[in-house]
Symmetry: C2
Subunit: 723 residues, 2 copies
Amino acid sequence: MAEAAAQDLLLAAAFVSDAQYNRNIPFKTSPEAVRLYHLYNHWMMRTATYFFIFLNLSLALFEEPAVYPLPFLATSVRKVLCLLVFLGRLTHFAKVTLHNVFWKDTKNICIMVAILLSLTDLAVYGVLRLYGVRSIRWSRIVRPIFLINFAESRQIRRAFRSIRNTLPEITYVFLLFMFSLLMFSLMALKLFGERNLQTAEGLPYFRNYLEIVFDLYVLVTTANSPDVMMPAFDFSSWYALFFIAFVIVNTYIFMSLFLAVVYNNYKKHLKNEIRKLAYMKRRKMIEAFNLLKEEEGEQFVVREARWKQLVKLVAPDTSNSHRELLLRISDDEQKGFIDKKSFVQLADLLNIQVVTLKIRRHPLARWAPALYGSAPSWLLRRVVRHRAFVWTYDAIILVNAVFIALDEESPFISYAEWVFLALYMIEILLKVYTYEPREFFGKTQFWNWFDTLIIFAALTATILNATLKSTMKYNSQQILDIVFILRVLRLIRIVDSIQRFQVIMNTLINIVPTMLTFGGLTLVVYCVFAIIGMEIFHGKIQSFPANSNAPHALECGNPALKDSLFARGKYCKNNFNDFASSFIVLMELTVVNQWHVFANAFASVTAQPAKLYFITFHIVMVIIIVNIFVSFILEAFFVEYSLEKSDVETAIEQKIQELGVGVQEDELQHEQLLDNMESAEHEFAGEGGTKPQSKGLVFKIASKPLLCSLSSVTSLWRRCLGG
Amino acid sequence: MAEAAAQDLLLAAAFVSDAQYNRNIPFKTSPEAVRLYHLYNHWMMRTATYFFIFLNLSLALFEEPAVYPLPFLATSVRKVLCLLVFLGRLTHFAKVTLHNVFWKDTKNICIMVAILLSLTDLAVYGVLRLYGVRSIRWSRIVRPIFLINFAESRQIRRAFRSIRNTLPEITYVFLLFMFSLLMFSLMALKLFGERNLQTAEGLPYFRNYLEIVFDLYVLVTTANSPDVMMPAFDFSSWYALFFIAFVIVNTYIFMSLFLAVVYNNYKKHLKNEIRKLAYMKRRKMIEAFNLLKEEEGEQFVVREARWKQLVKLVAPDTSNSHRELLLRISDDEQKGFIDKKSFVQLADLLNIQVVTLKIRRHPLARWAPALYGSAPSWLLRRVVRHRAFVWTYDAIILVNAVFIALDEESPFISYAEWVFLALYMIEILLKVYTYEPREFFGKTQFWNWFDTLIIFAALTATILNATLKSTMKYNSQQILDIVFILRVLRLIRIVDSIQRFQVIMNTLINIVPTMLTFGGLTLVVYCVFAIIGMEIFHGKIQSFPANSNAPHALECGNPALKDSLFARGKYCKNNFNDFASSFIVLMELTVVNQWHVFANAFASVTAQPAKLYFITFHIVMVIIIVNIFVSFILEAFFVEYSLEKSDVETAIEQKIQELGVGVQEDELQHEQLLDNMESAEHEFAGEGGTKPQSKGLVFKIASKPLLCSLSSVTSLWRRCLGG
């Protein structure tokens, strides 16, 4: 009986945590499998998987063509290690999943095929290498598959799915856009083709239809404006009208249309996903409820004791008081049991971060109460909490900014740096002295963490640099660079002093996790294009040091580039010779400007169709992915502006207020908040034990100090993308 | 009594038409004033006003510095004429408006001041000119005021108001963006300032803080990517990370943020305006109702006869049957009177274009029934109506496209052109033969009009060209260019054959009127910047013909530009020497690319602070106005995708269906529609006079053949922007 109850609990816990993370894995129902499932979801296991995925991707830096060449054996061993880890992770997953479900899931098959392909390729390459034959490492293109297909990368998969769903709609607009482009090109051919005009470089202007199409496609991205217009404009001013019409139709209208289509589909898709996830979550929670339910009067309920055990199992990190708060929300009338409706809410409740503000006495107040409570100490703490303290430090930051801009060489300035560092150190120490340290370094105190880390890093680096300088008479450029960057980053703090900026900054900070999804997406696309690019363009363009005497050093090592814009712009270092360079080139292509110079140069050193590579990259990266990124930022800020709070959050807040353990956010600034806490502490001490469930504790919803609505943006997006 | 009733009617009509156009002019209540009011609103008067506004603006082309110089007397006379017209229009407006309202309205005061200033300036300039003194024509900057402040330019005023409302919000984001820019610049100064690096042009790289700020601002617009990065990147690959971080933060995040803020505010503002307009409209309609109401049982109503008189007064162009339809909608139960609720709807009802499809017999069927009804004629009409006919012509268009791309010189090709022209002519004639001509050239038959105009223009131009060629052995380039353009435009028709493209195209065509508002907005901003630009930069840069021997011809007539990117790019013709050139330069600055080259060149020929002119233009035009334009396109397509129909339209459609005079759109293609009309005609003939109110008539809502939702986009926007 006890055995069965424990098993039920474990299963229910698996269902609940599954729902909490919005997953839908039909796991096996033996307690053993459930334990394995919890292990599978452990954050360490997940971090390890990510680590090996990136280790596998980073191999590209060490294999031929390498940035940092490593012997073949070393990369092979690392590769095999990664593959073994992936295989292990997959086996683990298979153990917790139902067989027929596991084998029907495309992503599992994908991973297995990818592992198999990588191993085969490694073997073939190794054998051929022994015989001195260089073959293509085609398995490289398989690598991003691990990033996409592991269960952990749900967000990236969703983003890809969303792109796939956008494709039909975007294809129609794209075809219409291409039609418009072809029409304008035809017009340009007729208007300018027989005028014998020349470009600024002395090349024939608008003679060949395909070249016109390419030039005008480049004009859509505005990269060759106004150069592409000048010969015609010089010939007759009226021809400017042709280009104005072209830019209005194609750049302004069609590009906006692409954004509209992408945004619209992305939003639609987002809504569907959220609806689906909400349904799945509800189903899971009902399953869990059915496992644990007992009859109570006319309805089925879950008793308090079981409920508590369950929460302890699912979220072992929550404090007793937090659990108590959740119970009070779920069991509103304190009947000793939770009905179905409240139970279903549990996954949402667990997802909302409630900060338990522990009203603790300052450690010094405990260790040296006389000293800490003395008049000078009290005065000091009052000063630190005063608004003027913040203003003083804002003024110091501004002065610091001026000093940074001044010349480094003068000894006066370099001493000033030590003074500033000392001032910042003192600020942090004073704050830690005044506020409770564990509160000061709380999870949500972004700016405190930021300050402290920056100052300590700057201190370490400055000391290191000074030591190196005095002992070895040597300035390490890397360390100096880091010191410079840290110094400037310190100035960011001033933004936090202005309420309006704070809101924008905090929205930006809150969307960082989701932006990482786009990072993943970009990484996958870059990887694929970098690998293809290296196969096509590897070694075609060389970079030489500034004063090299090598032949064709000025033409990037390729006579075909003589007098080209590419060579004249000194772009030689932008090549596909290794993975890192390829990434930089792709980044420059994403920024779009001058991409036609790259396309022309690489087409002239290989073959004309090579331009297709650049056009394809532009369509995939700029028209689709950048637009999705813009859509995401737009949506995040629209939600931010609409200032809505989710229902569950409101419920929790109500309960917090009801129980009298809330913190009034509206009228409180940060320092006052801490002030208030201290006075609350005294009150509690006076009242004795009248509120046992909340003694020494104050709750608030984690995202509240930023802006109420932020949590709903992030929760919306986390639900959809951030899993 | 009759006098009073007529007066009431006139007044009510003024109220109704005021509400219909969403205006809020508290006009005088004498019948004379009401008649003047109707005259004031006459489309001819309004068109004339616009004509004179543009005539006044176009004076800039003929005055010093002129594109086409005209004697001072000629421009002065034109100017005085324009001012007199404006004064007349204003007086007319004063006659229909209440005195205290007229004198409180800023825009009237603005116009009067502008007229006064222009006259003073003209007089002063004229007198000084007699004494040979050249003074600044500062009244030019006043000219756009007429475009903004005339009652007709309500849309442009609204757009400006919307920009003003967006400003506070955008300022905060802009300050944060500037802060980020200044921080990154400081970092760049520390990282690269003392490396003695050089740009590709051999200039010092990142030495001066202000120059770094400008360079990085340019990088935000991506115009100098990757050039600005290359020296640092060549020095060490790691420095690329600095630029990647910069682009992500400033170009991708902040620029999206600007779009988000602009879009959000624009939409909010739009909603408020619409709400306000709806309220005003309701009030006007209630006033009109109160004038005409009579007691009927327990409620006040408007009797049918009066209602009909009113509609006839307000919309004299509507057909009897259309009026009958509206009556049936308003007086649902045919009680002979209209209650308040239905009456208030009238303005909306009048605003919805209901196309009266007159089921008329083809003129030929009336004039030569035997011939038109004969078997060959019937067969011909069947062929023309067949899908294959459309396909055949699509194929012809494709073949034509290939022929256009081929070389013009071969005589075979130039004869082919005549063949194609003949084929297209035949198509139009056949269609007019098959379909009823007045229907074929109906108001909403955009593509029929487009086709016919293009073909006839091409025919005229081709004949003209051939005549010139054979008689004067001379090819007029202008005519040839027009012929080329018309030939290519013909090909657009093929888009109309694909349903999916049709929808996108029609949305685009529907938003053209509102886009004109942005045209107006852009015109005002361009005018102001062009006038300032001409004052600062006039004559500083000269353009020379290709092989000029003038000194400094290669340096655009200014030694300061020697070896500059501006001179090397052959940009000399981009200058502020006259109004037209200034516009082209501003257009190129709007497109953004290479704008730093312009800014640097103009700063080097005048003074460094001249860069501020270009930065200001970028902020005003690109960050604000282009973003509003993008927001508009986004919104138009979002509404299009959301597929909603307004309530009033649904009501009309229901009634049309109820009365059995509707056309089933869903299952009908265009030709089938016309087929159906003909068969409907036969039915009507067979049934005799059972449906007297709809005999020979079929109604449909004008926008229906495009896409249901379009009407709501356009009505939404027209209501808000298009007056």
